[in-house]
């Protein structure tokens, strides 16, 4: 069976009483008992098949998903994608710390097949940086994770210490859609709040488009040239538009941001990576092949399953139409390039 690295397994917290001991007493009482803290919601009931299986038990996820599908290592991304837009920054930061410790203790330490993401609550960058520094050299953690839902575009200089901390620990930064429009977030679209889940979910790549323009124009990659950013769960077809509209405008408008010294598409292709779930359902495989060529997909695309939520289809079916020349790179090698040795070491890779 081919080797697979999966950068996106959404492990879940079934019982918050397991997380509570990892949260300081002064805020632990705000977490509540079994059900956990109240998170600001978007108000939509998701449409689609419910998760095939809950993903709250690491042994069960390994047995039901990783082993039968030949996944050697999975990166855990959790289910708190709106943490960075919760109104109370201290409570959000405490939850991030508690969940990170719980993830290490319950999933990563006992199982060689799991690696963690350092969840941060970016509405307070100072506490977010402290959390990255606290866990940044832990061999069980392979990236920093923040929701793309935000009060402000990520290029703003208030966020730069977060990028500096990622670079300091040589950790990629993962952005994940999902909290858009909730809590203290901006509306999920630039013209306001969507009406339905269908509209909301379809709109989510707008969030990445805005963040990409912001971090490129504000010089994030000039200041932090080794920063790598993984954009989760938004497909790929929208990216060439961003690159080439941006390049065209830069020729005339660069004087406003004279530190943007390369065509914007160069910064984008050198620093951003994309995940395979959910790839757009192009009517012909050659359309997908063309777009993957445009975005250098043989380097930039990473396999992701989004387990356990397969409402949009089986993630292995989604990569069925990949060009054969890219398959091994997307399924395995690109993740090693992005995450480095930490993804496979010090633990042995499970072989079947």
């Amino acid at each position: 069976m081919p080797r697979v690295l999966d950068v996106d397994v959404h492990h879940q917290i079934a019982d918050w009483s397991a997380v509570a001991p990892h949260i300081p007493a002064g805020l632990r009482w705000r977490i509540g008992r079994k059900g956990g803290p109240p998170f600001a919601q978007h108000g939509f009931k998701p449409v689609g098949a419910p998760p095939s299986q809950p993903a709250a038990d690491p042994a069960a996820v390994k047995e039901r998903y990783l082993d039968p599908r030949g996944v050697d290592v999975a990166i855990l991304t959790g289910s708190l994608l709106s943490l960075g837009v919760q109104p109370n920054p201290d409570l959000a930061a405490a939850i991030a710390r508690g969940v990170n410790d719980w993830t290490l203790e319950t999933w990563v330490r006992p199982f060689e097949c799991y690696k963690g993401s350092i969840l941060i609550a970016q509405q307070d960058p100072t506490q977010a940086v402290a959390e990255i520094d606290r866990l940044g050299d832990d061999p069980g953690m392979v990236q920093v994770l923040m929701g793309s839902a935000s009060e402000a575009p990520f290029g703003r200089r208030a966020f730069h210490p977060i990028y500096e901390a990622c670079v300091r620990h040589d950790l990629p930064l993962a952005l994940h859609i999902g909290g858009e429009g909730t809590g203290i977030s901006s509306p999920a679209t630039s013209v306001g709040h969507p009406t339905t889940y269908f509209e909301w979910y379809g709109s989510l790549p707008q969030s990445y488009m805005a963040h990409i323009m912001s971090v490129v124009t504000e010089g994030v990659f000039e200041r932090f040239p080794t920063l790598r950013v993984v954009l989760y769960d938004a497909g790929v077809f929208w990216l060439p538009h961003v690159m080439w509209r941006f390049d065209k405008n830069w020729k005339a408008q660069r004087s406003e941001t004279p530190w943007v010294k390369q065509p914007p598409s160069r910064y984008i292709l050198d620093h951003f990576y994309l995940t395979s779930y959910p790839l757009e359902a192009a009517p012909r495989p050659e359309y997908l092949h063309r777009v993957l060529d445009m975005i250098e997909g043989e380097r930039t695309l990473l396999f992701s399953s989004n387990y356990p939520d397969w409402a949009l289809g089986d993630p292995f079916d989604m990569v069925r139409d990949l060009p054969e020349r890219m398959r091994q790179r997307v399924m395995f090698e690109n993740a090693v390039s992005v995450y480095g040795d930490r993804l496979l070491a010090p633990q042995r890779v499970a072989r079947r």
């Binding site: 200089r157 504000e218 000039e222 020729k251 005339a252 408008q253 004087s255 406003e256 004279p258 530190w259």
Partner: protein, 116 residues
Amino acid sequence: MAKHIVARVDEIPPGGRKIVRVEGREVGIFNLDGEFYALKNSCPHQAARVCLGRVVGTTLPSKVYEFNYGEEGRILRCPWHSWEYDIRTGESVFDKNVRVVSYAVAIADGEVAITI
């Protein structure tokens, strides 16, 4: 290749320009502090008459959040889409491979000659 006398030196003061027609094409003659330069009046982007654009300065490549304005009087900004060129070389400020065609200039006996 032939030499063409296109202007008298005193016709084009420092900071000034003159548009001339030579062998069927328009050329802009620029005087930058006493040095003369000749550029084809055609933007490599969409063939606008670039030599009619404003002569300006621009922000030089800088560190993030720093603004260093320079090259005042040496940058030609195309009137159509604001692409900027160094009058001395014809090169665009964003990519040296994108350039307005330039011609050699020679000054003799108070006259400006270009080679086309």
